[in-house]
Symmetry: C2
Subunit: 197 residues, 2 copies
DNA sequence: CCCATGGTGTTACCGTCGGTAACCTACTGT
DNA sequence: ACAGTAGGTTACCGACGGTAACACCATGGG
């Protein structure tokens, strides 16, 4: 439904265009424009539009790759054995190591893809939202937290998603802080709250 | 330094222009353009530019009002008597009731003012960042948490800021959930972590 | 009385962006 | 030889952020 052109060869082309877009975002950050992306792919704008409909469509497609990959990692981390603290730690670490590997892209996704398209709110569902939904499912399945109320799971999930995202965003600007420190502190807060220490 | 024109009458004008901008943002959301704001103020673009330099300048001035007011409320809430849980609850509630009163504006500030100006990162400091700094100070002053490490206070603060913001953002789209529920759940998580309940 | 000055405002323009219409070209099967 | 279609381009549109240039109308000295 996202693709504007059918056929099997079109899919390869699509993938190639997305890789070009990826490179441009990585290089130019939020200055990535349709023209630049088209140029990077060695073509011109209208082709881009034939494939993705509009800018939102391209962003969606671009986001889908990275977000799906990230969500996969989070889903895996959510299954870590060893107790609630270990699972929490693994999940936070999975998020931070993902954004560490490609800060430019993730900043772009969090900011641009979440903001620039108020119309798509709920269709793509912002980054943090999907992270939140994923977490809500994880929390509801958490053995230690059986019987948790639905509203608590939901509020917690979206809150935690924002927490990890904001701390990660801050951390990208403070690389002198080791990732393990951020992970440790966030995990401690989530597992035991202020009362710890 | 933000103002481009001196004089005392200019200050009243500036305030009037900001109020016009406020109305437009409230009405049009993120579609607020310099032209629209100028029209709302009964003037044309160049005057706006004489007063605020550029779009970033206007946004900064617009953000300053609301953010300063919000930070004041948070600062007050941070001084609530009655123990850590009460202070936490009051602070979270202060944030949520602020955004509830003017969702359109706060969405705009969180998104636009934080994003649209990667060059000013650190000058205006995004919304969540300043919230985080304020919280970090509050946490360091927290009697119950004396001796907390600097890195812990900082990471926690930015994490909590993002947590409350994200939960608030989600809540704006789910008004059927009472504010007190969101406040209760977030407070519980912050104070005692998962281990509660 | 005239004219310089400075604030307030306008019109008209520039480059760039997202998006589209129209056209062109080559390969394909019949 | 001919239609059809995938793939591509040029040239344009309206709207945006931003600016240059000009016009108005007070004031206050010479």
């Amino acid at each position: 439904m996202a693709s504007q052109v059918g056929g099997d060869r079109a899919l390869e082309r699509r993938a190639a265009l997305l890789e070009a877009a990826d490179r441009v975002v990585q290089r130019e950050g939020s200055a990535a424009s349709m023209n630049l992306i088209a140029a990077e792919a060695g073509i011109t704008k209208p082709i881009l539009y034939r494939h993705f409909g509009d800018k939102s469509g391209l962003y969606r497609a671009l986001a889908a790759r990275h977000i799906d990959e990230l969500l996969d990692r989070l889903r895996t981390a959510l299954l870590t054995r060893g107790g609630l603290a270990a699972r929490t730690r693994a999940t936070v670490d999975a998020y931070l190591s993902s954004i560490e590997g490609n800060p430019q892209i993730y900043r772009f996704l969090i900011q641009r893809a979440t903001v620039e398209e108020p119309d798509v709110r709920g269709e793509v569902e912002g980054f943090v939202r999907r992270f939140g939904d994923e977490l809500a499912a994880g929390i509801r399945n958490e053995p230690t937290l059986q019987g948790i109320s639905a509203s608590r799971a939901t509020v917690w999930a979206h809150g935690i998603a924002g927490m990890v995202q904001a701390a990660g965003d801050w951390w990208l600007d403070h690389p002198e802080v080791p990732r393990s420190t951020v992970v440790d502190e966030l995990t401690a807060l989530l597992v035991a709250g202020f009362d710890l220490d």
